[in-house]
Symmetry: C2
Subunit: 221 residues, 2 copies
């Protein structure tokens, strides 16, 4: 419509995007470098812990010089906060997508909902690119007080999804014990797998989900 094909033969130097001062390639690269730092930080924080990982280690892993991470992040703590935030955002997305997919198929039973949540959670903590959430789970004390609230917001949303499902299972008698304590213990059972799960051996994530449900759920009345 309002885009006449005025032949710009008079314009010798063709410009790509009007508002930006050229160097679109550099900008995409900047994003790549930041993402590389996040990814390597998550991997190293998970493997060795926050305090035992130096910003130099992270820089080297991302192919940078020792001072360069501070061009992208204000401090080592800000890098940790970014890892946790990124992890929670991805986890929340994956959780919501899994729920949406299961609702689309049919009206799910509460136990089906729990299976979806458990399976999605196992994927978040043990699947590919799963370094971010374990860092959040096991390095929480290293996060400065000031930066906890934002991550807590996402964490509350993620955990809140479980509440109505667990309550429904409690009401139907399939889950015994206080639902709030049950949620904490279920999370414990699942999150602990970060310490022992070996993707090469033992069970698959599907097997883990099956066992968890067998363990925690009673037969429906």
């Amino acid at each position: 419509m309002s885009l006449p094909s005025t032949p710009a033969a008079t314009d010798p130097a063709p410009r790509r995007a009007r508002g930006r001062p050229r160097k679109t390639a550099d900008e995409r690269d900047d994003g790549n470098r930041r993402q590389a730092l996040l990814r390597e930080a998550a991997r190293l924080f998970r493997q060795h812990g926050f305090a035992a990982t130096s910003t130099r280690d992270i820089a080297t892993a991302a192919g940078m010089q020792s001072g360069s991470p501070f061009y992208h992040f204000d401090s080592k703590e800000a890098l940790l906060a970014a890892v946790m935030q990124e992890g929670m955002e991805r986890a929340l997305q994956r959780q919501q997508a899994a729920i949406a997919a299961s609702v689309e198929e049919r009206a799910p039973e509460p136990s089906d909902c729990l299976r979806v949540l458990v399976r999605s959670h196992l994927d978040v903590i043990l699947g590919p690119d799963s370094d971010f959430i374990p860092v959040m789970l096991y390095e929480w004390r290293s996060l400065a007080e000031a930066q906890r609230s934002e991550v807590n917001r996402l964490k509350d949303a993620y955990e809140g999804t479980w509440v109505p499902v667990l309550r429904a299972l409690h009401d139907s008698g399939e889950l015994r014990g206080d639902p709030s304590l049950a949620r904490l213990m279920l999370f414990g059972a699942l999150n602990w797998s970060v310490q022992w799960f070996d993707p090469a051996r033992r069970a698959s994530l599907d097997d883990l989900a099956d066992t968890a449900l067998q363990l925690f759920l009673k037969d429906p009345a």
Copy 2:
């Protein structure tokens, strides 16, 4: 019998223990200092993590100068290993004592045995002087390979106690799912409480044990 009361009046300086070069008081004191270091190390390692705790922090907490911990321990890593070993020895003692006490009362059902193990475990990780085992649970990666085997021996003994109990419950139908996976998930549910349990609020350790059993056990057939 062969201990004639020869009056040692000819001996002007009375000696306490023949083999040791006097200073029994100092020796007991040495043990106290070492114990103080262990206790403060466990507390600080639990609170801030191994890597984030300096040997100076530990020395100060124990009322010593910065170099003094190395009179008692070869290295910071040796101090960590000693904390874990001390913790596992205490845990194993408490576990065996709890079992012995429960067997004395009556021939216990498998579910009673599990209750005893769960309650004793909660005491080990959440009760008084419970800094040692959480350090082992959450700082394992900080322990040097060479020092893992000794702690692993104790850990295997502690965990081995659970195996026949869980198998019996599985055979009676009270516990569903693979017993070996069940043990890992049960440990996860309990160990995770280190992250959220607040002795001032919420439930008591007895309540926690009750909920865990309600959650994991089916009604006996």
